[in-house]
């Protein structure tokens, strides 16, 4: 993982970006990949991910003048926009996946060697993450994929830290109930 700039540096850059387009471009370069990855993990489609990512950065550009540093990473604000953009896009869509059927799907497949088995298990787990209700899924992705702190996730999702902990706890519990055999430890 590459080293990140200090919070003070980031605050300075964000302040400059309010007036200087070039500074906003630098923010874009820093955060594009993680936002795109997060959005893709939610929409699972390249075209949709591109549309939503565009919307996120356009909204960020239009709203950066109102951004105020609260001590959280700037990325938390971008994630917040991304969560809302994804929710807006699929507001009328309800989760339709059945976890049991996903397990059945993942049970298919050729025999794999030791590494492949581990990879398959991880893939299976992430597939199950994708079948969780949207708030649980968002909290799980932000925590385990994006390495965010509970407090930051809470700010992104507009929930209390306790509520986020509950979402993650329920998500992990639900996955464990459905993953079948206990997963092997990663070394």
């Amino acid at each position: 993982m590459s080293s990140l700039p200090s919070h003070a540096d980031e605050v300075q850059l964000v302040e400059r970006a309010k007036r200087d387009p070039a500074a906003f471009g630098e923010l874009y370069d820093r955060h594009f990949s993680q936002i795109y990855r997060f959005v893709y993990s939610r929409v699972r489609d390249q075209s949709a991910a591109e549309d939503v990512t565009s919307e996120v950065f356009m909204k960020a550009l239009r709203g950066i003048g109102r951004y105020q540093d609260t001590g959280r990473p700037f990325s938390a604000w971008l994630y917040q926009i991304a969560v809302n953009a994804v929710n807006d896009r699929y507001r009328s869509q309800k989760p339709t996946e059945d976890i049991d059927s996903q397990v059945a799907v993942s049970d298919r497949g050729p025999a794999l060697d030791e590494v492949a088995i581990l990879n398959e298990e991880v893939r299976q787990i992430w597939r199950l993450v994708e079948t969780l209700p949207a708030p649980q899924r968002a909290a799980m992705v932000l925590k385990f994929q994006e390495d965010m702190k509970i407090d930051d996730i809470a700010a992104v999702m507009g929930k209390s830290p306790g509520a986020v902990k509950l979402l993650i706890h329920r998500g992990v519990t639900r996955i464990r109930e459905n993953v079948g055999a206990a997963p092997r430890r990663v070394r």
Partner: protein, 487 residues
Amino acid sequence: MSPRDFGGDFEELDELFSDPEDRRLAAILTSVQAPEVTADPAFRSQLRRELMQEAWGRSERRRRKGGGASWRALFTPPGFAWAGAVAGVVMIALVVVALSHGPGRDGTVYVTYNVDPIHPVAAVQPIEVKFSQPMDPTSTQAAVQITPATQVNFQWTDPTTLKITPASGSFAPNTQYTVNIAPTVAKTATGAAVPAVKPALFTVAPTPSPVPTPSATPSVSPTPPAAISGEHQVASGSASAMAWLPDGSALLYIAGDGRLMKASASGSAPPVAVAGPGVLRFAVSPDGSTAIFASAGAVSTVGVDGSKPNQLAAVATLAVGWSADKPEYVTDSSVVTPTGEVKLDHALAAGSAVALSPDGSRLWYGGHVLDLTSKKVSDWASPPPTFLAWSPDSQHVLYSTASGLALAAFDGSSPVTVSGSVVSGASWSRASLIVYSGGAACAPSTSRRPRRTTSRSRPASTHSRCWRRPARTSPSRARVASGRPGC
């Protein structure tokens, strides 16, 4: 997938999970990344360009607005006393300005350009100069100075917008240009002289190589893009994928809200919803009666008029298609064909480049081609090239490499480089081949939205650089459909 360091938040996990099994599962999720997803570089740079244009436009507007705010501030109670004191000085200054700069009314004209110093432009891209108020064409054209000296043509698209095109058809590649408006020469429509404005500085990208024309074995064609006319809108909103019905009477597309829509080619009737929301991809059957479509956790078929929806399986898919008149789909570990399931030799990560051939007989997946009949896998060179399109007869693969556009037999044999063009996508039908380059030559817009779905009455059979995503030629070649980002 790769192991990674966790940022020291194991305490949070310990606090969250008292059950050791839960902790172990959380540790797995934490220690191994989800499948890596990489954005299309063309998309990334295109979005950056659009953001920068929007940002500079906003900056310019803010600057203008800021001037007004300062002026208003003079009349706030604390500033009012000072206003009186400086009023005399200001009036004297105004007289001096009026005498030296002519009869300008507000004296200020702002200019923006569609180019910037950072992003190279295509050699054929016109330079657009946008003035903040209507201009006098003759004096303004006389004021335009281009370095290095270049013969240009002028076109006013409206009283405030001047388009500058090189008389030879293109600027010199790999060359830095400056466009300047000579101070006091250009005049507004009301006769006010324009003082010094900021010049435009830009660099022209290397000349793109010719692109192939559609044929079984594409060849280099220097033919410029065909002119396009007769464009008409058939639906509003965005469209992320499109396909014509075989008879060319209508096209299907995925709307911005994720619904699969059907729009008549003539635009005579409003589009109708066929399925969704949540549609990720789809394919139309060869007879045009049915579509197979995928959502996040299911694959289904539906009549193109929205009738007879039928879920085939509750499974996440990477691609859908047709084998003869039977639906076919690809999961991360197998291809489900009309005759049975064909296992892949390795599991695919989400977002993998996967493409079923038009006849449903072969599958491209990450540098391998699986023949679904013989079950034989052909391995391409490693690292695999970027897949662009199957040939209409399913025998060849069009792909891009660092050296340009290339074509090879489906098993990777007989590769031929057909162009040095940098191409980011392609749509190849029996009617035409359209390649697109990520919108490099697209006229810039300040916003990607609204995007329109249009059909065009003449085919652009050679190529279009204006479309970031595939445009689709109708079967009769009478029309080209494109959801375009406002260019």
